[in-house]
Symmetry: C2
Subunit: 121 residues, 2 copies
DNA sequence: TTTCATAGTATACATTTGGAAACTTACTAG
DNA sequence: CTAGTAAGTTTCCAAATGTATACTATGAAA
């Protein structure tokens, strides 16, 4: 018999539906550099606490949305995070959210690009 | 100064990011009838409790994703829910999730249609 | 020697969600 | 009178999640 848990959408939401996950994804996408450091992400997402960010990044690494590189030859140690292909392809979900959010105005002006790497809105 | 809370994506996730919201949306979309009754939705989403469903439907009505009609001439009372235009247009987000979920296989076979109104996967 | 920075971890606590189960109201059917 | 149904509500509890604050290691700089 059919169960909810077999539903693709259900499974997907289960993977990416937690608070911050998609916002971290978007933050990693922004800017011109592929890799971002822990504190860069943290500062971009102002309200996130290191505990939560650290937790989410680990989950995201595990399900292969994010790839982590550690360079311990640096002092202080240098950790970098980037989107994987799988993670990058999730951006279309974020873009649809943005498109929808802009259309059903929530006080924001449209920058014109749902795929803009620069604007913050 | 710029705050996270002004971000369109952030605001959108805040509105629709809670557990069950998108699944209820999808459930309302399924089938041939525009309107669905409380217990139909509940049965479609097996694991949802009436408390949670009731709560989500109210939130969704408030932000105008869902339209509710009550016909109290019926016995027992008849409540029906349908997607609004605003709600319907959120389905593209769900569709992108489905597309992504199918591409990065999670054990499901593709039905071929991300917009299928019938299949459960 | 004290301070600073990075990239977190640890601890304690508060708040938010969600879930299970029983209960409610109104009317109808047997 | 009892049972049943629809559409929830209520209560209580557990788990997930978030927050604040402090702390860690390492080495460089002042």
């Amino acid at each position: 018999m059919y169960t909810m848990k077999e539903c693709t959408v259900y499974k997907t939401i289960d993977m990416i539906g937690k608070k911050w996950t998609l916002l971290i994804l978007l933050e990693l996408y922004k800017g011109q550099e592929k890799y971002k450091r822990f504190n860069e992400i943290k500062n971009g997402l102002q309200d996130i606490t290191p505990k939560v960010l650290s937790g989410r990044l680990k989950e995201m690494e595990k399900i292969e949305l994010v790839q982590k590189n550690v360079d311990s030859s640096f002092v202080p140690i240098k950790s970098e995070y980037a989107l994987t292909k799988k993670g990058e392809e999730l951006l279309c979900v974020v873009q649809e959210m943005k498109r929808w959010g802009l259309k059903w105005k929530m006080g924001n002006k449209e920058c014109g690009l749902t795929t803009c790497k620069e604007c913050v809105l």
